[in-house]
Symmetry: C2
Subunit: 434 residues, 2 copies
């Protein structure tokens, strides 16, 4: 059997990079056999040459000069698993300009500077593949780009951050506080020492921007994404949601609306109540899942491990094989052109809302609050009083209402003398009206 | 903008074919815009020219001569949605030999004569794509082939027949009999007038064979698949399973085992008990889902509509765009070579088992039965008596045991005087030991 050698330059050898080296070692012969390519990890760039690593690499292979790897004529293909904007950006651009396909796991780079990267790949006629950048090991980018190439995708709703899903699962199932669940996630290595990127929804926003670009073929950057985190949620919110038949998840939502003036796109990340029978409700622990709603195909969901060295390396390897086969055939995967997007602001979006508030124990208090909702055109679907007397807490679920109307309702309600405090406000997603 | 015309010859215009015609009409301009191809449905072959159809087709387009469509020099690409073995087989082979890519939704053909079809495509260097043949609209074949090209896939477990999943969901949730649930499915158009292919697992077996071929790169045909249907199941079995924390599903299971003599593959279709927290347990109504277990990627699941004109047409369209783009670039998607498979027979497989039986109300009866299990090396994990006196019913769950040992245990148990009847025997799939 003749195989074609494909010489890989690996940029970064941390969690994902080291797992990739090991995976290529384990799968090399089977891949040679099935696909007739001989994958060789020829050079590996890291920051710190003397660091202890999970993999044994020859001294001749390791370097701290990532630029030299990219420009090495003996390198056919580049895998970028350094992360962050620079030096990842210029390394990626240099490799593409040199006609070398790049496999990237870098959501930050793609979510902020995707258009520049895709353009460079298009100009050079080489592959930029990044299955690993969104939802780790779950095949999502390729299905969206290829399997659903003809589909009219209306909405994508994803649980794309494993850390927050773990935290919310523990809060809901074990009734622990946000802080306790987070500490547990940190102990298990699911959450970073500084959890801000996960907890405040920045990580999910970057992924949401990439998903929106691929699903709708438009330019969306992380800064276009409306964002709320989960730090304010209490176990009480979660158990109350459960009693109403909902599960609380941090969702990344990308929607497309047709208007007389062309398509608008809305992209947002926030905690939301998902009906318990919705497939996303069953996604527990640190798993990820992405739910896709298409006009013809109906509802689809892709589920699996959104992070971790091995799952992410598996996605990188799938892309590497694809690019390597393209390379041996002198071709590149298609990139569809991204058009400019009109971003619809969160203020204009419709949702059902769950709202709770502490109310003074006074006759007519409830009627006063309900009146304010009515004045703002927000119609109430259900209302329930929890507890009695000074502990009384009122919970509302609205019918579909526009965000701006709900926000002005809340502002007015907060000013009422009978309202002690407005607690959590959660949008309902995946219900009949949402 | 310049677009390349791609002239499609459509073979068959029933559920899927008519939905495909409508979908191409709706999506034509967007596809032209995004992918620079101009999809034209140039000719359509049907059996009965005068039949009323869901779509308006020009008389000049319709023909009953499918061979003429395939050989028409004005046709670039063939979509086969006739179904069955002949004439689909020779039409597909003729098209491929003429250098025309074929998009097929035909599970029966591919599950029985896949090797011949793939070889013809390989020889001609043109595409044979069949995303629609397994699990309808769910992207599965492309992710398995491409995204997971480097992955060591150990097992694929699928709910791939919507009719039986609907029937089992109704039986479990509404406590109706198999017959009532089936009648309801027929009324709703989920089940055929003759439900044998669905209910007895033939449809799922064909899909299981295709899944095994693609996931493991080996030749598996429908006849290699061990098969049991769901007609014997009672609502009692399902509620009992529920009380134990399980949901009963008809599963298609493809497994791969490494042995000193090379890989063995086992493929089977049978009802099974799935733990209630397993993602497959949440797949309700007529939805399909395919769960993939990989060594590096971990657990993945693909969920969606496994049938229906529109979802299936969406999968066909994705393949058509792929093939059309390949065609305009003078290339074909890769087909990995299928090696010969050693099929491991069901007798050699290990599972946990759920077994129920009616027992005589006599001292020592239980000990006698338990003794027979022990004699055959089948160890009991849990045992429970349901009901009292003459109504007594005994339920066993075993530890992991080999099928042949369980079958000889059951044969011996049936011969016992104290056993009135052995009821359902269900394997447990997706538990810690299975
Ligand atoms: N971890 C996951 O589960 C996961 C999942 C999906 C996507 N990703 C993405 O994958 C990428 C890598 O993540 P990771 O978790 O593997 O990160 P990591 O463990 O921090 O590894 C980063 C690697 O890059 C190297 N590096 C840093 N600066 C460099 C420079 N200037 N030149 C050469 N090498 C440099 C580091 O070298 P030293 O080892 O010498 O410090 C390290 O080996 C990120 O984009 C991340 O978002 C990660
Ligand atoms: N329906 C689904 O949900 C689904 C899902 C996945 C895969 N599939 C697969 O898709 C294929 C088509 O299914 P379907 O439900 O669309 O079947 P269908 O409704 O029975 O349509 C079959 C079509 O083939 C035509 N036909 C039959 N024999 C022909 C011949 N000798 N020459 C030319 N045309 C002929 C029929 O013509 P007339 O209209 O004149 O009778 C009809 O238009 C099958 O392989 C099926 O397994 C279906």
């Amino acid at each position: 059997m003749t195989t074609t050698p494909v010489r890989i330059g690996l940029l970064g050898c941390g969690n994902v990079g080291a797992a990739f080296v090991q995976l290529v070692e384990r799968r090399h012969d089977e891949i040679a056999n099935r696909h007739q390519i001989d994958l060789q990890i020829t050079r590996v760039a890291v920051r710190n040459l003397s660091r202890e690593r999970a993999v044994d690499l020859d001294e001749a292979v390791l370097t701290h000069d990532a630029d030299a790897v990219v420009h090495d004529p003996d390198i056919d293909l580049v895998v970028e698993v350094i992360g962050g904007i620079e030096p990842a950006r210029h390394l990626t651009l240099s490799a593409l300009k040199a006609g070398k396909p790049v496999i990237s796991a870098n959501k930050e780079l793609l979510a902020n500077l995707g258009a520049e990267i895709y353009e460079a790949a298009g100009d050079a006629g080489v592959d930029i593949l990044f299955e690993a950048a969104v939802a780790g090991g779950i095949p999502l980018i390729r299905p969206l780009r290829e399997s659903l190439a003809g589909e009219d995708i209306r909405r994508v709703v994803g649980i794309v951050n494993g850390t927050t899903n773990y935290v919310l699962s523990r809060m809901a199932e074990e009734h622990v506080s946000f802080g306790e669940a987070l500490a547990e996630a940190q102990e298990l290595g699911y959450a970073e020492r500084d959890p801000t990127a996960d907890v405040e929804g920045f990580d999910a926003s970057a992924k949401a921007a990439i998903i929106a670009s691929i699903a709708f073929g438009v330019q969306v950057v992380a800064g276009d994404v409306y964002r709320e985190g989960i730090a304010e949620l209490t176990p009480g919110d979660l158990s109350f949601a459960a009693r109403l038949g909902y599960v609380v998840k941090l969702l990344a939502i990308a929607e497309r609306f047709d208007t007389p003036d062309g398509a608008e796109v809305a992209v947002r990340v926030h905690p939301a109540m998902v009906p318990e029978h919705h497939p996303l409700a069953a996604v527990r622990e640190s798993f990820n899942a992405v739910f896709v709603e298409g006009a013809a195909v109906g509802d689809l969901m892709f589920y699996g491990r959104g992070a971790g060295g091995d799952p992410t390396a598996s996605a990188v390897l799938g892309d590497v094989i694809d690019a390597a086969l393209n390379l041996t055939n002198g071709r590149a995967s298609r990139l569809s052109r991204l058009s400019e997007a009109t971003i619809r602001p969160i203020d204009d979006l419709r949702s059902e809302y769950y709202i709770n508030m502490d109310l003074a124990d006074r006759p007519g208090a409830l009627a006063t609050v309900a009146g304010v909702f009515g004045d703002h055109g927000v119609s109430i679907r259900a209302m329930e009083q929890e507890g009695m007397g000074a502990e009384a807490r009122l919970v509302f679920i609205t019918h579909g209402a526009v965000e701006s109307a709900v926000q002005s309702t809340l502002a007015a309600v907060r000013d009422l003398e009978v309202v002690d405090r407005v607690g959590s406000v959660l949008r309902v997603v995946g219900g009949d009206d949402s």
